[in-house]
């Protein structure tokens, strides 16, 4: 087991970290017990810490992540701040609380205190977010935004069982701007440490972050059962809850070839290892349907680690990205030693958690064809409004011209062994005038899509009803009613 070097709260630390050691366990082993394990699956945020991540070529963005999920070796060479170091980072007086800590303490934002270190870190990341603006322009703040520009979604991955959240929201909305001499704000002006290739082996498992794509593909060719990770949000759950101990984990998170975001000839290409937060910032509303997806995709803590490559790589039937990308008619760029190929996402899934991705192949990028369909919607049905897994997810992308729906693509999640296209509903709507009768007919076709199951999230009957209702809503909200127009 090789040691890793991590700067934590301004101090260099060097100690062993195995491939199956989470960042959380490593920190706690170092005596930093502020971060807590609440759920071990990235749902509660009690383990949140701040990581120095690149923000453009020469700046650092303090990014909050769940430390219970990623393997500790992935942070070799990195820089982390925990709740313990927040007020005292870079030499502040020991008793001096950080502004976030002060607001939380004074307003009753902590009761039992167990979730608090995680909240403090998630809140601090939003406090330092460079785009956060007081007022956010003219008029009322956006929903779930404070007058100081604080986006409450930054805390959607943190659960508190004691307070009922009101004092935490008040603390968040009361925050001012970082002071001129704020050490973490000052730190943002320089680049984070460059991610370095690293290796760790212990107990029959191995973690490797290769230096180049070539090295990654070589290694994958030799050991095709290796598990690829970027943020490790899926691997962490498998390790913590189902005790999976993969023989080889390959970290792809820092490979430039997987981190591009650019507009090509007739498509937008999104690197498979960009985090969802990075995509959200990089696209800045360029693809409205993705813009609708992001706030509903897990939580900010997860989006700061999770990638499209991971979400599609697991081929889960309930991943929220797939329905949206199906509606957008996306393709995947698959790469291996043998070269690259492009596969339509609609042809990618072959069965429950199975895909056409061959041994030795990785998802390098996702391509979204242009021009985009103008009428889009994303309906996620879940028990909880923030940070929940869908019982049903439905994405629509339609073109509407001359009073007719000329073209429509509908992606569905949660109703079959794979994400699917709602082909018969598409057929029922395409070429039609979106009257109430046409909507009802298309809704009836939607109700026949997939093979929904009963489970703890929802009944099959409800899932079917939600498909039907999603079509009715799409027609009611996104397509003009020709009868009303007459």
């Amino acid at each position: 087991m090789e040691p890793i070097d991590v700067t934590v709260n301004g101090l260099a630390r060097r100690s062993a970290a195995g491939p199956n050691t989470s960042l959380l366990d490593w920190l706690r082993g170092e005596g930093l017990t502020g971060a807590k394990e609440g759920c071990a699956e990235g749902e509660c945020g009690a383990c949140a810490v701040l990581v120095a991540r690149p923000d453009g070529p020469d700046r650092t963005r303090w990014t909050a992540v769940n430390s219970c999920l990623p393997p500790a070796p992935a942070f070799d060479g990195g820089e982390i701040v925990t709740s313990e170091g927040l007020g005292t980072a870079a030499g502040a007086a020991a008793e001096e609380l950080h502004p976030v800590q002060r607001e939380m303490a004074d307003r009753g934002g902590s009761q039992c205190g167990y979730c608090t270190p995680g909240f403090v870190c998630a809140m601090a990341a939003e406090y330092y977010r460079p785009e956060r603006r007081a007022g956010g322009g003219a008029g009322e703040p956006e929903p779930h935004h404070g007058p100081n520009g604080f986006d409450l979604h930054a805390l959607s991955g943190n659960l508190c069982r004691c307070t009922g959240y009101r004092p935490i929201r008040d603390a968040a909305y009361a925050l001012g701007d970082p002071a001129a001499d704020d050490p973490l704000a000052a730190r943002s002006a320089a680049a984070p440490p460059a991610a370095r290739p690293t290796h760790s082996a212990a107990g029959g498992s191995e973690f490797l972050r290769p230096a180049t794509l070539g090295e990654l593909l070589d290694r994958l060719e030799q050991q095709p059962d290796a598990l690829l990770i970027a943020g490790g949000t899926d691997l962490g759950v498998e390790r913590n809850l189902r005790h999976s101990r993969p023989p080889l984990i390959l970290g792809v998170d820092r490979l430039d070839e997987l981190r591009g975001l650019h507009e090509g000839a007739g498509f937008v290409e999104i690197g498979a290892a960009l985090t969802l937060s990075e995509i959200e910032r990089g696209l800045d509303g360029r693809i409205p349907l993705l813009g609708r997806l992001f706030p509903q995709f897990a939580s900010r803590l997860i989006r700061n680690s999770a990638t499209l490559g991971g979400n599609l790589g697991t081929a889960s039937p309930i991943g929220d990205a797939a329905p949206v990308l199906l509606a957008l008619d996306a393709t995947l760029v698959l790469a291996s030693k043998r070269g690259e190929r492009e596969v339509a996402l609609a042809d990618y899934f072959t069965g429950y958690r199975r895909s056409v991705r061959e041994p030795g192949e990785i998802i390098r990028a996702v391509r979204i064809p242009l021009p985009l369909a103008a009428r889009t919607a994303f309906h996620k049905v879940s028990k909880r409004r923030f940070d929940d897994i869908s019982s049903v997810a439905v994405a629509f992308a339609a073109r509407y011209d001359g009073g007719l729906v000329t073209d429509v693509r509908i992606g569905l999640g949660g109703v079959a062994a794979t994400p699917i296209r709602a082909r018969s509903a598409e057929e029922a709507l395409a070429g039609k005038e979106p009257t109430r009768e046409a909507a009802a007919a298309a809704a009836a076709a939607m109700a026949g899509e997939g093979t929904p199951l009963d489970d703890h999230r929802a009944s099959a009957r409800y899932r079917t009803a939600m498909l039907e209702q999603a079509m009715l809503r799409f027609c009611a909200e996104s397509l003009p009613d020709p009868e009303a127009a007459r």
Partner: protein
């Protein structure tokens, strides 16, 4: 200052102060039990072997393969228990069972050098089972006649005759779900053998004395040989009242047998699959009203799902029976209670302790019957509120009943109820796919343990020569701010600034024979004891000061760290100076405090008496918006008026009210426990055993606007500094949310149509309720059209 309720000048109680550990919380330096592991070299880790059957006999348990796993040190089995193999107080909870009673029941525990070694060891244990028939649902248990414990009946008057005579009669059944505590800190214990054979246990427990007793009886030792300490808990909510004992006993047993520290920390899945939850209930009821909507009679059979053993099911049922009236006078009543025995985790205490379940039944009855009675639900509730002079069905006069109507009236004004009700009607008229609902519900909750003996507490207060004060008391801190309040009580009683009082962690060798920190009684009981101890010391110091001032001791005053005489201030001493004098005069500077709640009596067999010191009152108005496409909803606004007496610590009380309200909303709307009830191989498995499948309220479930008002001028005589308990009662303010959802769902249908709503009212449940309403509206429209054609 001889009265318990009277406050001196400049009291520290009543001041808004942050939680006493707030700075430690926000910096991550507050320590919880499992944070101590790194300070314990050589610590072993415990991992359970959980049985994969709902009900089975253990026919073989081979532990040798586990010992062959590298790093495994020992496997603990029934054969290792030197004392009693039982984790409870009723001898019905074998710690190492020969018969598996629920899916996930731990049959033995493996100790390893690392958690990984212990886990692999547990996987290597070879257990064989003979699968036995199992009962999972309340319906199955009721049909099979599977009950446990007492079956008390609460009655007054002649319910049958009253129902017979009532002009309006209704009947129904209602089954509703339980709730997982989901304290953010899972169960944790850390045990080691101190010197001279003393067993020391750090535990996340609401009931250190009982943890101590049970660890002692498992170890076959006396209580004096076992010490339990609880630094603080990362949440308790009742889930750490009974449940920690067996886990602490396993850690202690491991420590005694290996001579090394043993850490037992459940991960979330283990915690959810092994420990008890809020009891689900089934109710069958008949209710009678007069023409004005006044309740005339109620007859019901309520059955709780107690799970596999009794645990606290009997007192939980008693409290459910004692709260089925909520805030309403029901002249004739007969409610039979029973506890089903099922093959599930042993259901246990959870904030409200049966009270919420009892009250939910009557609130559901009123919510369902109001449309049929043709009375607005808010008006129906108001008409039935207790008024002064009335008594509860168990014979306790409802003291301060006038507060109910007063709170109701004040809240109606503060919430602008009338205008907003009209606005909701207007909104619903113009929105086809979205409807809003508004509802107001009251809370009356009895404070004290039903079991009279538990209503006592102790404290130990030290004053050091430098004037600094250290207090110990029997209550535990789980986030509810008890320690904050106790410091305020001590500072007030001694007349010193808050910073002069330090609080030491709860330990059984400081204050013995304590009651659980439960039943909302922590501040009442321990506050009484802390104040008593401080009063003793202050009285002694008064004599010392009186000699210096040459005045009568009764005329000495302690204010803000200064000691002076009544009325004149030319003589004035620092508190520390008087303390120092007292030391040299050989006056004891420490005292044991004690408190017992007076005036309580309870006949559990007849279900009659005055079990409660007083009632806590409150009411809430909630407004919600429901989406007709999905049944999903948003909580728009909640206004609350709640009675905490004269608050000891307003920030703490506000936090308790808001937190309880949101937790109650979670129970009623979102949190859904699902077991595999199929006949497949996983029958009995908890399907919602993780944060990803069991959803607690997050930011999205907090009302957009939440206004909480403390009921003013509310001094409660006979309670420490005039305060009232706050932990549990506000949870039940969440009924307003459920009733608002009912109103919003009903708004999709024709007026005055009774609407049944499942509990929890998940988006799916609300969707089916509103679909029913929509279908009824369609039928009404079709009937009307058909009628028109006929004409």
């Amino acid at each position: 200052m001889k009265s318990l309720a009277e406050r001196p000048v400049n009291p520290t109680v009543g001041l808004t102060v942050p939680h006493e550990s707030a700075a430690l919380h926000v910096t991550g330096t507050a320590l919880y039990t499992d944070d101590l592991v790194g300070r314990m070299p050589g610590c072993l880790h415990a991992w359970p072997v959980q049985a994969p059957h709902a009900h089975a006999r253990v026919t073989a348990l081979r532990t040798e393969p586990a010992l062959a796993v590298p790093g495994v040190v020992r496997v603990l089995t029934a054969a290792d228990v030197p004392g009693t193999n039982d984790a409870g107080t009723k001898e019905d909870e074998p710690l190492f069972p020969a018969e598996v009673m629920y899916y996930g029941h731990a049959v033995c525990w493996v100790l390893g050098e690392t958690p990984e070694a212990a886990r692999l060891g547990a996987a290597a244990v070879e257990a064989e089972y003979e699968v036995l028939p199992s009962l999972l649902t309340l319906t199955e248990a009721i049909e099979a006649g599977s009950f446990q414990g007492h079956q008390p009946t609460l009655s007054r008057g002649e319910a049958a005759a009253a129902l017979e005579a009532a002009p309006r009669r209704f009947a129904g059944t209602f089954e509703f779900g339980g709730q997982e505590h989901f304290y953010l800190e899972t169960h944790a214990s850390l045990a080691y053998v101190d010197e001279a054979g003393q067993v020391f246990i750090h535990a996340s427990t609401q009931h250190p004395s009982e943890t101590q007793e049970i660890a002692a009886h498992v170890l076959g030792r006396s209580s004096s040989e076992v010490t339990v300490q609880c630094l603080r808990m990362g949440g308790g909510f009742g889930g750490k009242e009974m449940q920690p004992h067996g886990l602490a006993a396993v850690a202690a047993l491991g420590a005694v047998l290996t001579g090394r520290p043993v850490r037992l920390r459940l991960n979330r899945t283990q915690d959810m699959t092994m420990t008890g939850k809020r009891h689900p209930f089934h109710a069958e009821w008949e209710a009678g009203f007069d023409d004005e909507g006044r309740l005339r009679g109620l007859r019901a059979t309520i059955t709780s799902d107690g799970g596999w053993c009794l645990d606290l099911s009997e007192p939980v049922l008693a409290r459910a029976l004692c709260h089925i009236d909520n805030s309403y006078f029901i002249p004739d009543i007969e409610v039979r209670g029973r506890i089903a025995k099922t093959n599930k985790t042993s259901q246990t205490a959870f904030r409200g302790f049966g009270g919420p379940q009892g009250m939910l039944i009557i609130e559901d009855i009123l919510g369902r019957c109001a449309p049929a009675l043709g009375i607005d639900p808010t008006e129906l509730r108001r008409r039935n509120l207790y008024v002064p002079g009335q008594s509860t069905p168990y014979g306790q006069p409802v003291r301060h009943a006038e507060r109910l109507l007063d709170i109701w009236t004040r809240l109606s004004g503060l919430a602008d109820l009338e205008n907003r009700a009209a606005a909701v009607v207007r909104f619903n008229k113009v929105h086809e796919h979205t409807k809003r609902g508004l509802a107001m519900t009251p809370v009356k909750f009895g404070i004290s343990f039903n079991l009279t003996a538990f209503n006592q507490a102790g404290a130990l207060v030290h004053v050091y020569k430098d004037g600094s004060v250290l207090i110990n008391h029997g209550g535990t801190e789980m986030g509810q701010g008890l320690h904050t309040k106790m410091r305020q009580v001590a500072a007030t009683a001694l007349g010193i600034p808050l910073r002069g009082v330090r609080l030491a962690p709860t330990r059984t060798d400081k204050v013995p024979n304590t009651s659980a920190t439960a039943a909302s009684s922590g501040a009442d009981l321990n506050g009484g004891a802390v104040k008593n101890a401080c009063d003793q010391i202050r009285d002694r110091l008064a004599e010392v000061a009186a000699r210096r001032f040459n005045i009568h001791p009764d005329d000495v005053r302690f204010v803000d760290g200064r000691v002076t005489g009544i009325g004149f201030h030319d003589q004035d001493l620092a508190f520390a100076e008087v303390v120092n004098d007292a030391y040299f005069q050989r006056i004891p500077l420490f005292a044991a405090g004690y408190y017992r709640t007076e005036g309580l009596h309870w006949d559990a067999a007849r279900m009659q008496g005055e079990p409660f010191k007083y009632f806590s009152y409150g009411a809430a108005v909630s407004e919600v918006e429901v989406d007709g496409f999905t049944g999903a909803y948003r909580f728009l606004r909640t206004d609350i008026v709640h009675d905490v007496g004269d608050s000891l610590s307003p920030l703490v009380d506000l936090g308790q009210i808001e937190g309880a309200f949101v937790q109650g909303s979670g129970w009623l709307t979102l949190e859904e426990l699902r077991w595999d009830t199929s006949d497949g191989p996983d029958r009995g498995r908890l399907a919602t055993q993780a944060a990803s499948t069991y959803k607690l309220p997050s930011f999205s479930e907090m009302p957009d606007v939440l206004n909480v008002h403390l009921y003013e001028r509310a001094t409660e005589s006979g309670v420490v500094y005039g305060s009232k308990a706050v932990g549990e009662p506000p949870l039940m303010l969440a009924f307003s949310v459920r009733e608002a959802l009912r109103a919003a769902a009903a708004a999709f249908g024709p007026p005055d149509r009774p609407l049944e709503l499942a509990s929890p009212a998940t988006p799916e449940a609300v969707f089916w309720a509103l679909q029913g309403a929509r279908d009824a509206l369609k039928e009404t429209a079709e009937d009307a059209a058909a009628g028109a054609r006929r004409r």
